[in-house]
Every structure is written in structure tokens, then in C-alpha cells.
């Protein structure tokens, strides 16, 4: 009995195979986590935007192209037919242009064409008596236009208001005028765009807030040249649609919808949090491929397959305004849908790619050496583990 090894034959092989199948992916995961461990906290781009961004130093307004910062490129479903059905006296043009900004010439309102620095026909920037910034908690948001034009401004006969099904795929362009506020010394590791419906507030425990599941892509483009496109796809997110507000600046109001009076406690807005977390390889690639030239970079964001999750086993796809069946009448909106405005917050994190490279390469080297040692230890010539378990004197 004393001569028998404590671990023998098949059991030892099983331990080894399970260990490799579990430890190897955990090891690579640990290396990648360590390599981005020096990532900073989120830095707000909004707080960096100059108050007179829309103007030249002499006070004259910059051209449109120099003021665009964040614009729609896909506003979701075209609801023209639904609008026409609800309001037979209107014409296709009334609504087609609400959705399709390429056909916006019928309207002088600039909602159709871009979001920031465009309001009520005033092509101003921050300053000049018009400030598009507002605060929630410690965040500074910019006012942005919803996916539909302001219907009330279109002089539509028998106006019936916004039809709230907007689809489940949307896209935006982040212009270089916005990107320029990321320093060219930064290696970006995450990007986050937070949309909130700041015009409406709810009690934080109302069922309007759910988990929103969606997929998203991002494309980087330099100097407006499509040949430079670098696309990262298949991001999958599961985010709460609740944005809790503990601080609302004096004088700022919001419509409280769930009760007769606003409670003393916190209020909540509907939010949509679009976050891109890049792998260490992608962080290095983005920095090296574009040489951190953010002032000449545009981003193209796409969100698709949006679903609302009410319970662990109930997903509602497509329609993002009213549920069906047992959830009939329950609202589950997106922060940026509608014909009014929403708030936008753009943030990023940065890493030191020298450190990222060090941990990535160092960790990989150690892992490679360990695998070599394991392969030698798997032969009959060197058995350090079995030797360790062998009884003394054998």
C-alpha cells in the first residue's frame, strides 16, 4: 500500500486535461485584463468642448461642416405610411422628410440634418446667448435632436403627433469636430455614448425601466477617406435603461410622469448607454493605424437587434414603445426616439499602450514557456509532478 502512488494513470491525465482546458483560457483572459488594467476612469469629452465652439474668434458663425459634431445616419424605421394612415389629409412629403434627411430641402428646420448646435433654425453653437449644455449629476450633456423631426413644426393638417414605433436599428456619425477634443497623446480603450430622455422623468421603480439588449459596431475613418475604414463589429451589450438623477440644477425642470408631484427622492430618466470596450490588440491597432490623429477622425456608430428584457425569460423585439399581451400598454422607449430632444454625453477612457504591450508580451512569453515546460513534463523523461507525489524511497 505504501508503494502505490497517490494519483495514478487515468485520474492524473484527467486532471491535466481539465486543468489545461480551464486554465489556458483563464490565463489568456488574465493577461488581457492585466494589460488594460492601467485604463483611466471615463473622461467626459462634453466638458472639454469650448463654449464658443460654433464661432470663429471674430464672432462670426462657422460653416455647417465645421459645426457638425454628432449626426444621424440612420434614423430607424420610415414611418411615413403609418403617419399617412393616421392622418389621410397629409401628404407623403410631410412625413417622408421627417425620416429621410436626404430629402429635407422642403424644410428649413435643421433637425433633419444634424444634432448638435442646431435648434429651432438657429445654427448657433454654445454661447451667443444659446447654451445647449445641461447638467445631470456630475455629467454635462448636450441637447440633441430625436430621430424624428419636430412634427409640431411641420404645419401638418390635423396633426396627430409622433408615432412611437421607431425600429430597432439606428446609426450615427461622430464628426471630427467632436473627436478633436480627445488629445492626440491618448490611446483610447473604451468609448461611451449615453443618451437620456431628459424631458421626461419617472419614479425609479416604475416598470418603464428594463434591461435593453443590443448589438453594435463602430467604424473609424481618417480624413473622410473610406479607404482608411477600420471596423470593429459584434459588440453585444446588456444595459439598464435607467439613469438615476440625484442632482438636478436649480431652475431646471423635467416633466414628472408617474404621480401627481415629484418625490423628494431621486428621479430617473430613460437612458441608452452605448459602450465600446476594445481588446488590447484593438487598442494598439487603433493608436498605431491612425497615429492618434483624432482631430481628423470620424466615427460611425451602428446599433441593431435591439430588444427589451422584462424578465429573465421574456424578450420583446422590435417595437420599442408599447408591449403586447400581458405587457400591453407598458411603455419601453429608447431615449433618442421621438420628435423632441434628448441629452448626449460622450466619454472615453485611455490606457498607456507601452504598459499594455509590456503586460501582453510578457504574459504571453511566460505562458508560452509554461506550455513548453508542460509538454516536456508530459514525456517520460521529466516528471516533476509525479515525482512529487511518489512515496519516499520509490
Amino acid at each position: 500500500m505504501a508503494d502505490k502512488p497517490k494519483i495514478t494513470g487515468i485520474s492524473f491525465n484527467l486532471f491535466a486535461i481539465i486543468a489545461v482546458l480551464i486554465l489556458l483560457p483563464l490565463a489568456t483572459s488574465t493577461i488581457t485584463s492585466f494589460s488594460t488594467a492601467n485604463s483611466s476612469e471615463y473622461i467626459s469629452v462634453n466638458k472639454k468642448v469650448e463654449p464658443d465652439e460654433g464661432y470663429f474668434p471674430d464672432g462670426t458663425t462657422k460653416p455647417f461642416a465645421d459645426r457638425k459634431m454628432f449626426t444621424w445616419t440612420d434614423k430607424g424605421n420610415n414611418m411615413t405610411n403609418e403617419y399617412l394612415q393616421s392622418n389621410p389629409q397629409s401628404t407623403v412629403d410631410n412625413y417622408q422628410t421627417v425620416w429621410d434627411f436626404s430629402n429635407y430641402q422642403n424644410f428649413v428646420d435643421c433637425y433633419n440634418n444634424w444634432l448638435l448646435f442646431c435648434d429651432q433654425g438657429l445654427y448657433g453653437g454654445l454661447g451667443g446667448g444659446v447654451d445647449y449644455r445641461f447638467a445631470r449629476n456630475n455629467d454635462v450633456f448636450f441637447q440633441s435632436s430625436d430621430n424624428h423631426n419636430s412634427l409640431a413644426s411641420l404645419s401638418i393638417p390635423n396633426y396627430n403627433g409622433y408615432i412611437g414605433y421607431s425600429g430597432n436599428e439606428f446609426a450615427w456619425q461622430v464628426h471630427k469636430n467632436y473627436m478633436q477634443y480627445i488629445p492626440n497623446s491618448s490611446d483610447i480603450s473604451k468609448l461611451k455614448f449615453t443618451f437620456i430622455d431628459y424631458n421626461n422623468a419617472y419614479s425609479c421603480d416604475t416598470p418603464i425601466f428594463q434591461t435593453i439588449l443590443f448589438k453594435h459596431d463602430i467604424t473609424f475613418r481618417l480624413n473622410s477617406d473610406k479607404d482608411t475604414d477600420y471596423t470593429l463589429s459584434n459588440f453585444e451589450s446588456s444595459k439598464s435603461s435607467k439613469y438615476e438623477v440625484s442632482y438636478l440644477p436649480n431652475g431646471q425642470t423635467t416633466t414628472y410622469l408617474n404621480g401627481t408631484s415629484q418625490p423628494f427622492g431621486n428621479i430617473c430618466h430613460v437612458q441608452f448607454e452605448l459602450e465600446y470596450e476594445f481588446s488590447p490588440f484593438e487598442i494598439i491597432e487603433i493608436s498605431e493605424r491612425f497615429d492618434r490623429n483624432f482631430e481628423n477622425m470620424d466615427l460611425f456608430l451602428r446599433v441593431y437587434d435591439i430588444k427589451a428584457q422584462y424578465t429573465d425569460d421574456l424578450l420583446i423585439e422590435g417595437g420599442l414603445t408599447y408591449g403586447n399581451g400581458q405587457f400591453a400598454g407598458v411603455v419601453y422607449p429608447l431615449a433618442f426616439e421621438g420628435d423632441n430632444k434628448h441629452g448626449l454625453l460622450f466619454e472615453y477612457t485611455e490606457v498607456d499602450t507601452a504598459k499594455t504591450n509590456f503586460f501582453l508580451s510578457g504574459g504571453t512569453l511566460i505562458l508560452g514557456i509554461a506550455l513548453f515546460l508542460l509538454s516536456i513534463a508530459s514525456t517520460q523523461y521529466w516528471n516533476p509532478v509525479i515525482e512529487f507525489f511518489k512515496p519516499d524511497g520509490v
Binding site: G9, I10, F12, N13, L14, A16, I17, I18, V20, L21, I22, L24, P25, L26, T28, S29, T32, S33, T36, Y230, T231, L232, S233, N234, F235, E236, E277, F278, S279, P280, F281, E282, E285, L360, S361, G362, T364, L365, L367, G368, I369, A370, L371, F372, L374, S375, I376, A377, S378, T379, Q380, N383
Partner: protein
């Protein structure tokens, strides 16, 4: 022998399930549990193997030189291990001799 095969397959399935569960619950680096740019991940895109996406991407990055010398050492070690285990199984009927 059949029992041994069943035990081996069960252990492999158990291992992949553990890694899959860890990945689903966010214990793996989330940026690497998706298929990433360039279509370099081909085998582990299914939910069951999502925990190995990270490993496959690592192997892919090593092979295309993104990880430099370290990547080739890693790849060499992995290949050496696979060859050793395979030859052990063929010659002795066990992976580790």
C-alpha cells in the same frame, strides 16, 4: 476502454461548460468574448464555446505576428504540448507519460 472514453468526454464537456459559464457571467475579459475585427475567430463563435474566443483570438494574434516573439513562443509551446500529448496517446494510450 469505453468507460474511459466517456470519462474523458465528460471531463472535456465539464471544462467547456465551466469556462462557458464564467464567460457568460463576465469573468472573462469581455472585450475578447466576442469575435473581433478581421474575422480571425472562426471556431468559438457559438455560445457554448464563447469562453474560448479569447484563447482562439490569442492564437490567431500569435500566428499573424501581432504579439511578436512572445506570440511565437506561446504558439510553439502550445504546438509542442499538442504533439507530445498526441504521440503519447498513440504510443502509450495516455496523454501524459
Amino acid at each position: 476502454m469505453n468507460l474511459i472514453i466517456i470519462i474523458f468526454i465528460s471531463s472535456i464537456l465539464a471544462s467547456t461548460s465551466i469556462i462557458g459559464a464564467l464567460a457568460q457571467n463576465g469573468f472573462m475579459n469581455s472585450a475578447l468574448t466576442r469575435s473581433v475585427a478581421g474575422g480571425t475567430v472562426a471556431f468559438t463563435s457559438s455560445n457554448f464555446l464563447v469562453g474560448y474566443t479569447n484563447l482562439e483570438y490569442f492564437i490567431s494574434a500569435s500566428a499573424n505576428g501581432s504579439l511578436g516573439f512572445s506570440g511565437f513562443v506561446f504558439l510553439g509551446g502550445l504546438v509542442a504540448l499538442m504533439i507530445t500529448w498526441l504521440s503519447n496517446i498513440i504510443e502509450f494510450g495516455v496523454a501524459i507519460k
